[in-house]
């Protein structure tokens, strides 16, 4: 499935939506497909900071746990407790219901280096080989 056009993407399969000064982070459809049934999610609380290139949370499927990486610096202003309560939301609605955290951006220009949807789809397809 083609990734939504209005988002930016990372090589570690996170998506970012810019909403004013705030960035919303999530996991891509490719990521949730690859992980399989997701059973557990760990996210930072509001007030915690995240750093570009550093893990900000853990997502686990029946098979294995993986870190999720923040593409940006900033402070978490809200996390999605619904997704923590029902991690299968990530399988069902990776771009809508299963947003993960909202981050107040330290430097909005950090989004410039991220991939567009078409670049990401090409990247994901290459990776799948």
């Amino acid at each position: 499935m083609a990734s939504p056009k209005d988002l930016k993407y990372t090589k570690t399969h996170e998506w970012v939506r810019l909403d004013g000064e705030t960035a919303v982070l999530g996991l891509t459809d490719t990521a949730q497909t690859e992980l399989g049934d997701i059973t557990y999610l760990e996210l930072p609380d509001a007030g915690e900071s995240v750093s570009a290139g550093e893990p900000f949370g853990v997502v686990e499927s029946v098979k294995a746990a993986s870190d999720m990486y923040s593409p940006i610096d900033g402070e978490v202003v809200e996390r999605n407790d619904d997704a923590i309560e029902a991690p299968e939301l990530i399988n069902q609605s990776p771009y809508e219901k299963a947003w993960l955290v909202k981050v107040k951006l330290a430097d909005p220009s950090q989004l410039d280096s991220l991939m567009s949807n078409s670049a990401y789809d090409e990247f994901a397809e290459e990776q799948a080989g």
Binding site: G36, D37, Y40, E42, V58, E60, V62, K63
Partner: protein
Amino acid sequence: MSQETSTDRKTALHQRHVDLGARMVSFAGWNMPIQYTGILAEHRAVRTAAGLFDLGHMGQVSVTGPDALTFLQWTTTNDVSKLEAGEAQYALLPNESGGVVDDIIVYRQPEGEDGYMVVVNASNRERDVAWWQELRGRRSKLDVEVRDISHKLGMIAIQGPVAETITSRLTAFDPLSLDYFTWKRVKVAGVTTMIARTGYTGEDGFEFYADDAEIATIWDALLWEGGRDGLVPVGLGARDTLRLEARMPLYGQELGDDISPYEAGVGWAVKLDAKEFIGRDKMAEVKAAKPARRTVGFTTVGRSAAPRTHYPLFVDGKEIGQVTSGAWSPTLEKNIGLALIDREYAGVGKPLQVEVRGKLVDAVQVKTPFYKRDNG
């Protein structure tokens, strides 16, 4: 498990898995389905309806000749002399130091046929056969032949509460007339097959052994017949969570070269007093002195990532062992695990901590199996 490699072998059902949209992985030198639609759905189908498994990667070894019983008595831990024609038993293939080379099922051939068939793990097949051949060489006077017959045989399993209903529609034979751990030669879907009432899921069900060229006929018929009853194909992913809930050991995790059967909790398959066998004295020593470690079941307290194989366990900050298998249990909807720990800390209700991804998570020891079917 890893990505597909070109040297991997394919079972007779490989193209069917691909056509069903399975995700294929490399496992023990075979290209096998890890999941079709998803591990959770497949797991739950086996607990509530039925699942169909391709076990073409498993190994089968034929042991025949006048001294087959003598040889198997010497090279396995269970009492093979107890097997009547058509009966099967779980056993271990021992090494000389009191550990385990593999866990196996020994089938005595049905009435009127001589010898035994031993089913072994795919990952151990080659070294099992090599070990048996070496032992065969040490007892050259024995009239026995050990042959790897894996390449000729296909193997599938149907497991779950409606496995019997589905199977009975494809054969004149009454599957329920088969006792647990027995097998028989019958026709299913027009194909001659051995049908065994055995499995690795904690559910009732059957395993089929048929010629590699014919196993697909049974697979297709079962899948076609069983669709309306909720039968789905099940990959290795759910096979692992199913066997863990039922507390069935997996070689390389609960069992190994340097783990005593008494530590692994399979001492019941070791018959020290029945016979002489490889490694017997070492096993007897461990039993007499009481094993230093025990395999225990545990669940974690509160929510956390799942414990996984090799994660360390602590009591009061002291490392006391390691997780052998762990997962989020689809049936219990919580994290479960088996662990090999120092004996003094073992006991149902006793606390532990497991280090999961750098964090200490509280856990408590529980009775196993984690799951037991109602009529089981």
